[in-house]
Symmetry: C2
């Protein structure tokens, strides 16, 4: 996919483009409305010309835009206008644009295409790109594409589709440029000249032996400054980051960030070069990761098209609400068990949410810090005791500080020293509970092989809510009634 | 900074290294304890040799590690061991390692160094790197470094330090390789051969005129496949992404992700080439951004060294707790205003946290979706009405659904149809309040030029808590008592 004929823009210019597209769509719509009102037959020369003019202008505009920018426009448009624009995009660009749009929007676009169009769009892509689209495509499309590919690409597609999501295999492409280690740079240069252009993100040529075993890499930045009669083996570096197809993509991404890589070789279990990972795919992967985490934490099952129907939104959000409803109901029953105490001392009802709420906030601070340290690989399990000690210390200090302030407030509001003391004690105990649970939950999730960033917060809040109500109402029942 | 002599590793191997370092430190410690116990004078040959052996081994290990990996080890070690390892790092690597460690850990390392050591460490860095470190360095160090630099680098440092955080100027380096547009590729190649190695992430040579105005770029991947007697102007692309020093770094990062860039030229207001941004710095920037957001959302003012002292942690966390305390206190006073009603019907106390809690969860779903759409630049203000309509629809449906279930539960638990109806109505109204506030808060924050990802959640929860209590207890007072 060449990008030279398309323009690249910064976000501001892109928003300008979006407004322009909307304006063209609006004018187009107006003309159509007028045509209908005047009841002039559709085949009349003048009226059927006018609408086409706006569309022609729009089509020209889309043609000169980069695929990623067309994707941006499609994502920012409401359903109907989105499909109108999609129809105007040149068929041969459908594939690359489908790759760029978000999952939710991709779904709406694919729904609007028939099998033939989808096969035509998909066929133009590389094997690793087809594999990325595959989960969203109808099965018969995949089969048709499969049949239409030449044998070697078919093999690549089969391979690409076999790697599980989140593995290096799923992240890599099949574009590594490689040379043998027993030739001179002169030969390498002549070989490279046979390309029209090197694949994107080619910052190094991989060096292999006769059996394709990876031996090292030849950075382009060195190749370009070296004498051409030097042998490859003299210039190449043998200290390269080597990834395996079944490595964790997350860890590969961390290696890219740590070592400022532009590309890295991927080898199979036998050490044979099978592909490469590029920084472009790593950047996309990182963005997806941090987005998924943000969505999950915010309670969305998957990313949501902002123009999704009410019904689609409800489906996307119900799991999280149901889980929270259950935990809230449990907390409510804890309070229910102390209704007798509340009836006797109604101030408890007003004060109890403070104890529960601050516990949740404090516990989330602990969990956030630990989740981050895990993401960076900095925590080992044998340090858990040290962490517990520190977090309990923080909780004790915070409990005495904020609990003390609230105790004074309760004393002042309700004129009861005992109530103030119970408030302070309950705050301190709930913050300590929050500290213990806030450390334990992420540790347990990592032990179970799950991502601690997702779900920790709900579980923690469930504990500190129910726990906070129980501690506060329990202490009040023991000491005040 | 050359990386060729150091080894690069994946996270697993790195954790192995960490364990090894800890083991060496532990042995070292044991030996020292033994020496002290036996009360043998320190200058005795055998005992002073033994400790040194472990240190020598450790030092050798550190020497062969990549700077980013040494940084990882330092971050994962508790305070005392961290400083022991830091002492063993070669002085000439101090600078690059300080650049790699997290802010919190950098602070502890800088505290352990005197002015002279800091000046020596800083001097070896590039101007843009010194500017990155500058906020953490004592002023006299900056001054000394400034005086010691040659004139051109001093000018660069002054420039680099003048750009505000979050601007492209602060992100860029001063390493762009440029050539004139009126020469042949032969000349370019000869010019490049004069470098030992091209700067990292050099995927294109920038083309400028006599006055350094940017004319285009010559991709290395094209240079390497072209005939050497072609002129630069024939091969160069003029459609390059051009950044300005005062552009927003966030938008520049988005351009890198959208267009799969490895480097981009930075020009000043006159169009003169002044620097370049690399994908490596963009990746670091993206990681920092997503981390900062996660930390802020989780209630930490800044990143926290997991081995920070209790007191440092308390300081890092108090703002957030104080804010939440205030909002919780306000919600508590809302309940306090209805104490008469609760005293008459104590079931209200048990049910009210459900109404408030689910409102907060649902509103956060709305806010999360909108914050994400803003981050991708997909929302325009004229679409706000559409969004309100959709979110109110979702809230109405969810309110009737979940409110209905809870109404039935309340009826079943307390045997009162009216209580059930009030529960359902309160849930529906609070979810609709959450939808309105959940859309309005991020929109307002963007209007005010603030990052909607930070702080929206606290404000929203404050509204849905106080609002939820008020709606539920208010309806109950009106219809049940």
């Amino acid at each position: 996919v060449t990008k030279d004929t398309t323009q690249r823009k910064e976000l501001e210019d892109l928003q300008e483009d979006l407004r322009e597209v909307q304006e063209l769509l609006r004018r187009q719509h107006l003309v159509e409305v007028l045509v209908q009102r005047q009841d002039i037959p559709r085949d009349d020369q003048v009226e059927s010309m006018a609408p086409k003019q706006h569309f022609a202008e729009l089509r020209a505009k889309l043609d000169e835009m980069h695929a990623a920018d067309v994707a941006y426009i499609l994502e920012a448009l409401p359903h109907e206008e989105r499909l109108a624009v999609w129809d105007l995009v040149k068929a041969e660009r459908d594939g690359e644009i489908l790759l760029e749009v978000s999952d939710a929007v991709r779904e709406t676009l694919i729904k609007s295409m028939d099998t033939e169009e989808l096969v035509a769009a998909t066929e133009q892509l590389d094997a690793d790109e087809i594999a990325d689209l595959a989960p969203d495509l109808p099965e018969e499309v995949i089969e048709d594409v499969f049949d239409s590919l030449p044998a070697d690409e078919r093999e690549q597609l089969r391979e690409a589709m076999s790697y599980p999501e989140g593995s290096v295999g799923a992240l890599m492409d099949f574009d590594p440029v490689s040379v043998r280690d027993d030739v001179t740079l002169e030969v390498v240069t002549r070989y490279l000249r046979r390309f029209d252009e090197l694949p994107d993100n080619t910052d190094q040529i991989f060096v292999v032996d006769r059996e394709d075993h990876l031996k090292g890499a030849l950075p382009i930045s060195k190749l370009i400054v070296s004498e051409l009669d030097d042998p490859v083996s003299k210039i190449m570096g043998s200290d390269v980051v080597i990834l395996y197809t079944d490595d964790n993509a997350q860890e590969a991404a961390q290696a890219f960030a740590r070592y400022d890589l532009v590309s890295a070789a991927v080898v199979d279990a036998q050490g044979k070069l099978v592909g490469r990972v590029t920084v472009a795919s790593v950047v996309d992967f990182m963005r997806e990761q941090s987005e998924t985490t943000a969505l999950r934490e915010g309670g969305l099952r998957e990313e949501e098209d902002i123009f999704a129907s009410v019904w689609d939104s409800v489906k996307n959000r119900w799991t999280w609400l149901a889980v929270n409803l259950v935990t809230a109901f449990i907390a409510s029953r804890v309070i229910g068990a102390f209704e007798g105490s509340i009836a006797k001392l109604v101030a408890l009802a007003a004060l109890m949410p403070i104890v529960a709420g601050i516990g949740g906030n404090s516990g989330n601070q602990t969990t956030t810090m630990i989740v981050r340290a895990f993401a960076l690989g900095q925590i080992q399990f044998d340090q858990a005791r040290k962490l517990f000690r520190k977090e309990l210390g923080v909780a004790l200090l915070n409990g005495l500080l904020w609990g003390g302030i609230l105790g004074l407030a309760a004393w002042w509001l309700y004129g009861s020293v005992q109530l103030g003391l119970v408030m302070t004690a309950a705050m301190t105990l709930n913050l300590m509970l929050a500290a213990i649970v806030g450390v334990m939950i992420p540790l347990a999730m990592v032990k179970l092989g799950r991502d601690p960033a997702i779900g920790s917060s709900v579980m923690l809040t469930a504990c500190t809510d129910s726990g906070g109500f129980f501690i506060f109402l329990g202490l009040a029942t023991l000491f005040l009634l």
